[in-house]
């Protein structure tokens, strides 16, 4: 696929937005606050339309606030449940005199007062935005419209007033960007999709109070929804070498003949390497597939001027077989589905060969002779691999994969208890709330060892912590091969004197270490319960979970009330466990009696 095809911005016409927004949704309801100081009118229509496209199965409800009362709208939103909020601040929300509908005068003295008022307003908004973001995720859109011509300067010169206002706004946004839950929309990206001079509809603003042109409302809604509900990021990137990671053909030019520098007119490859290195640092898995001599590739990857750290690349598949074969081996080494992976190659033929076998892989052409095309590719990669937060587990991913593969290479086909005993494995159980972000991610991402495939929105997730009688623990793992970080979650509640588990996930990186048995053992011990009910539901991909539970109980009658596993059945099926367990998990007294 040509990356430029992906970057064509398709404007949605109002008629189309109304049609999409008017479609009937499913049973599941999604509520969203749209908070601004003006009547959102077409912006609301576009927001509903983009939410419907994002969540086609759901019924969308967007709640606007009252005209001219952004602060009050933020306050009221605190008391109403929703899955997120888009807050739009325009200049007039900081001081009415900064809008086009104000009549406060533009004399010098007035202008000085505007800055002081705007400062106070920012301070108040800051508190209210932070309070709301504690509860639900919030996309913040900062002023997008021009200021009225209220200073004495010619418009070609920046006025002190405008600079002071901008400085105030920058400080305000910087502070808010550090608050958890607040996602400021990128001003520069918005400028690409909605140029400044096309944003303000003066006629509409003066006649109705809605200030945006339709294309601007469209762009704000599209980006606002994407910022609030980003898609699932891709996890792995497989790259070609010749004419992709570097300029030149390794087999022809030799190790020192390939290049990535300004001097060699191959800087675009240097930019690509830096991006890959940055992605790898954030936990994206990077592998190589190259039709090359493997010893030559290994030698080239030792070059000290490479801008991607070679230790972050795993695995390296160099050889002369079809690339689809090496991609298949890479997916196996990563234990990852093809739909989470991107392949980048300068050869359309190679991309097609892989795409035929793995249609779910996003295959992207590296346009080595088109610098602008490469830059567009880099931006697209940022978009599809973008993450709001980087955690320690992300940084550990490559090391733990190497360790896991090293471990498995030392085990025979069947599980070797002796080998597992020698792992010196340590498990740490912690309260889930302490690691909320990672816990949330694990539960929403894990497919194979997943009790029921339940997925949560951020709002649902946060609400879960306050539920009386519920428990949630995360499990971290390390052994003599290294750390895996937080790899499992167990959650549930007490019901009718029994312990009920409705969340049970284990990362596939941590399979074959008997961690799932240790988790259940700890649950029996901690709860003092004679039996545990698992709210199991078969899914297309949770075969490992089915095999696990099948050891204790028949899954054939897995009805709505779940599968009950008695302590006796567990003990009978549980193998010898050798983990050293550290418990930092608190189960309150009331829960212990379940």
């Amino acid at each position: 696929m040509q990356i430029r095809d992906l970057l064509q911005f398709q404007d949605m016409r109002l008629g189309e937005a109304l049609k999409i927004a008017g479609q009937i949704g499913g049973v599941r309801k999604r509520d969203l606050h749209l908070l601004c100081g003006f009547t959102p009118l077409h912006l609301q229509t576009y927001v509903i339309a983009y939410l419907r496209l994002r969540f086609p199965e759901d019924t969308i409800q967007v709640h606007p606030g009252l005209y001219g009362d952004l602060e009050g709208n933020l306050e009221r939103a605190l008391d109403q449940s929703a899955e997120g909020a888009i807050a739009v601040i325009e200049w007039a929300d900081l001081d009415q005199r900064l809008g086009f509908r104000g009549n406060g005068g533009w004399r010098t003295q007035t202008i000085d007062d505007i800055v002081a008022q705007a400062k106070e307003k920012c301070a108040r908004l800051e508190k209210k935005l932070e309070a709301l973001a504690q509860k639900i995720p919030l996309t913040l859109i900062s002023p997008t419209l021009p200021l009225p011509p209220l200073t004495q300067n010619s418009p070609v010169q920046s006025s002190k007033f405008e600079l002071r206002l901008n400085a105030l706004l920058e400080e305000f946004l910087l502070k808010l960007s550090e608050s958890k839950g607040i996602r400021p929309m990128s001003v520069s990206n918005l400028a690409v999709e909605s140029p400044h001079h096309t944003r303000h509809d003066v006629k509409m603003d003066l006649a109705t109070g809605f200030p945006y042109s339709l294309p601007h409302a469209d762009a704000l809604a599209r980006l606002g929804v994407r910022c609030l509900f980003p898609g699932e990021p891709k996890k792995g990137l497989i790259t070609d070498l010749d004419q992709t990671l570097w300029k030149g053909i390794l087999g022809d030019l030799g190790v020192n003949g390939v290049s990535w520098s300004i001097e060699d007119k191959s800087q675009i490859h240097a930019l690509y390497q830096q991006l890959l290195d940055s992605l790898a640092e954030s936990g994206v898995l990077v592998a190589i597939t190259s039709k090359n001599d493997s010893s030559l590739v290994n030698e080239a990857l030792q070059r000290t001027d490479l801008l991607i750290h070679p230790e972050t690349i795993y695995p390296v598949e160099a050889g002369w077989g079809p690339k689809s074969e090496s991609v298949s081996r890479i997916l196996k080494a990563w234990n990852m589905g093809a739909d989470s992976v991107v392949l980048i190659d300068d050869s359309q033929m190679e991309l097609s060969e892989v795409s035929e076998r793995f249609p779910q892989i996003e295959c992207l052409l590296f346009p080595s002779s088109d610098p602008a095309g490469v830059l567009a590719l880099l931006k697209h990669l940022r978009e599809i691999f973008g993450r709001a937060e980087i955690r320690e587990e992300d940084r550990l991913r490559v090391a733990s994969l190497r360790a896991a593969n090293a471990m498995h290479s030392g085990v025979s086909e069947t599980r070797s208890d002796e080998f597992i005993a020698r792992l010196q494995a340590k498990l740490t159980f912690e309260d889930g709330e302490a690691a909320s972000g990672r816990t949330f991610e694990l539960v929403n991402k894990t497919n194979q060892f997943n009790l029921n495939g339940l997925r949560f929105t951020e709002a649902e997730w946060h609400a879960r912590f306050g539920h009386p009688g519920s428990f949630l623990t995360t499990v971290s793992y390390e052994d003599r091969f290294g750390q895996l970080g937080r790899i499992a979650v167990l959650g549930g509640y007490c019901k009718g004197g029994r312990c009920v588990v409705d969340i049970f996930v284990l990362s596939c990186r941590a399979f074959s270490r008997l961690i799932e048995f240790q988790m259940l053992r700890q649950l029996f011990k901690k709860s003092g319960s004679e039996s545990v009910v698992f709210m199991f539901k078969p899914t297309e991909r949770n075969g490992p979970m089915q095999a696990y539970l099948g050891q204790f109980s028949s899954l054939e009658n897995a009805a709505a009330e779940g599968i009950e596993v008695s302590s006796e059945a567990f003990v009978k099926a549980c193998p010898t466990l050798h983990h050293e367990v550290s418990e930092k998990w608190t189960m309150q007294e009331s829960k212990r009696s379940c």
């Binding site: 008629g15 008017g22 009547t39 009118l41 229509t45 006629k203 509409m204 109705t208």
Partner: protein, 84 residues
């Protein structure tokens, strides 16, 4: 022919803004008999008409257009040449 095209487009605009309206009843729709025809819906209808017919809508002039037929008359007067 052109008049039929104007009507067809206007029917679509009304249907998009007032999805509850029975298609057969759109031509007789007015502000009194159409639930949801408030000031916001009016602005939405004006904007949509402006978008669909590629014309600048004069808010003051269209303020008096409070029925399907009222809109039809004003569009005939205002729309670009291709529709007239």
């Amino acid at each position: 022919m052109d008049d039929a095209r104007i009507k067809e487009k206007l029917l679509k605009c009304f249907s998009a803004v007032f999805p509850e309206l029975n298609p057969a009843g759109i031509e007789s729709a007015n502000i009194e008999n159409t639930s949801g025809w408030d000031s916001l819906a009016h602005v939405t209808l004006l904007t949509l008409v402006s978008e669909e017919f590629g014309m600048e809508v004069d808010f003051e002039k269209f303020e008096s257009a409070i029925s399907f037929s009222g809109f039809l008359t004003l569009i005939r007067e205002t729309a670009p040449h291709e529709y007239s």
